[in-house]
């Protein structure tokens, strides 16, 4: 079988904050068009792992490659690399002083240096993909949480990244708004986007994930197809975690 170049390849990632070792040698490989789902208890290092993938956190040691390029090497233009890695945050982080269109077009104009008209056409297209074309002129405070998160997704996909990182994209949402965001993520997946998703939406994981990673205490304890990890977990800690999640 020919080896396909992974989109993300994080190898032996260690990360410490002072004396606290948060990642203890984690490997994460994501193939093109794959959706990798990461679960694990709070504080297990899921966010830190995602943030190491676009160097919002600098790994203490280890290598991160994006489509084969070692981005942890010296002299890499990180702003260049980050254009190819979209990120969606739990707290949306929309720019409150800009309209939805302004939020989505900012990086197109200032990073990709597109003329305003071109950037705004592109941004409008991205808003359409998340079902919010009619909210282009709305400011973040005028949008529901679910709409804000969809604008944040549009902001990331407008850059046409190679991979999208989602850090608990629905955790800050009221339950009735979760569905609209997951729907957009399903659409993205169908369109062939490579995705890494940290979330507690187990139903979504079962439907949409190719692979599930269970993290605990800074390590990947178990990984496999969703059916295996959810249906027949091998490790005690995975079983305990899934029981605690399903119990709620």
């Amino acid at each position: 079988m020919a080896r396909v170049e992974p989109v993300v390849e994080a190898l032996a990632i260690h990360k410490s904050f002072g004396d606290l070792e948060v990642l203890k040698g984690v490997n994460l490989t994501v193939a093109p068009q794959e959706l990798v789902f990461i679960i694990g208890p709070s504080g297990s290092g899921k966010s830190t792992l995602l943030r190491c993938c676009n160097l919002l956190e600098e790994p203490s040691s280890g290598v991160v490659k994006i489509t084969g390029e070692d981005i942890t090497a010296a002299g890499v233009d990180i702003n260049q690399v980050r254009q190819r890695i979209g990120m969606v945050f739990q707290s949306f982080n929309l720019y409150p002083h800009m309209s939805a269109l302004g939020n989505v077009s900012l990086a197109l104009r200032k990073v990709k240096k597109q003329p305003r008209a071109q950037a705004e056409a592109k941004a409008q297209e991205a808003l359409e993909r998340v079902g919010l074309a009619h909210k282009a002129d709305a400011y973040p405070t005028e949008l529901s949480g679910g709409q804000q998160q969809r604008v944040a997704i549009a902001r990331a996909i407008a850059m046409e990244p190679d991979v999208m990182l989602f850090d608990e994209p629905t955790s800050a949402l009221d339950p009735e708004l979760v569905g609209s965001v997951l729907e957009v993520m399903r659409e993205l997946r169908k369109s062939g986007m490579t995705m890494v998703v940290v979330s507690h939406e187990m139903r979504f994981a079962r439907d949409a994930a190719d692979r599930v990673l269970f993290m605990d205490a800074g390590m990947v304890v178990e990984e496999g197809p969703p059916d295996e990890v959810f249906g027949a977990p091998k490790h005690e800690r995975t079983k305990a975690f899934l029981a605690s999640v399903n119990g709620h």
Partner: protein
């Protein structure tokens, strides 16, 4: 009552000195305008520079800011006017007043801008940086606009308070409104020119306070 009216609202005296007061009015207005523009710009420049976190630069900025916030503006103007010639720098009273008040306004507003910059949520930085925007671009397009909006009330208050100090330029013989009013008062042996000057100050600063109120509502959140 008549004595009071004659002392403060003597029409004859007022009419006589009105042209000179008007000349002074323009000097005050011009000085105030220059101080507002250069002080706010300089203050913002210092805050931006400080964001780059160079220890040497930041130490210098903090020293500058603390110095100009601690010294009374009058002292700064007098030291500048009478002290600088000893080191071979001879500037007009107007220039000294402008520079002094610019530094004072910049010092106070730098602190206000800086407080605004640091209060912008860390998530804003991360969101912008994750799209490939650099440090400077994030500061300029994402953080500063929010910081300024958040700090408009203290910014306008401070600007008005410090710009009123243009009256201090009278001690270094700048022919601004208060200087003119005081000389006229001495010549006429009557306080009415001061009434005119008071009206002149209201004419300048009342619109400024109203403008600041308008800006505050205009840039309040949601729009």
């Amino acid at each position: 009552m008549d004595v009071f009216l004659d002392e403060f609202f003597n029409a004859e005296v007022m009419l006589k000195y009105l042209p000179e007061i008007i000349d002074g009015f323009w000097v005050t207005l011009w000085l105030a305008f220059l101080v507002v523009v250069s002080g706010l710009t300089f203050g913002l420049g210092l805050a931006l520079l400080r964001a780059y976190q160079n220890p040497v630069v930041n130490a210098a900025i903090i020293l500058f800011v603390d110095l100009f916030r601690a010294l009374p503006p009058l002292v700064i103007i007098i030291v500048g006017f009478f002290g600088l010639p000893f080191v071979g720098i001879r500037l007009s009273g107007f220039l000294i007043s402008w520079l002094s008040l610019t530094c004072v306004l910049a010092a106070f507003t730098e602190e206000i801008y800086w407080a605004g910059i640091t209060s912008v949520n860390k998530g804003q930085w991360e969101a912008a940086r994750s799209t490939g925007l650099g440090f400077g671009g994030t500061l300029f397009f994402v953080v500063i606009p929010q910081a300024i909006r958040m700090t408009i009330p203290p910014l306008t208050n401070r600007t008005i308070a410090i710009t009123k100090n243009t009256a201090l330029a009278s001690v270094v013989a700048v022919p601004e409104m208060l200087t003119v009013a005081q000389t006229s008062l001495a010549y006429a042996a009557n306080t009415s020119p001061l009434t005119l000057a008071a009206a002149g100050y209201l004419l300048i600063f009342f619109p400024l306070t109203m403008l600041s109120r308008w800006i505050e509502t205009r840039f309040a959140w949601k729009r």
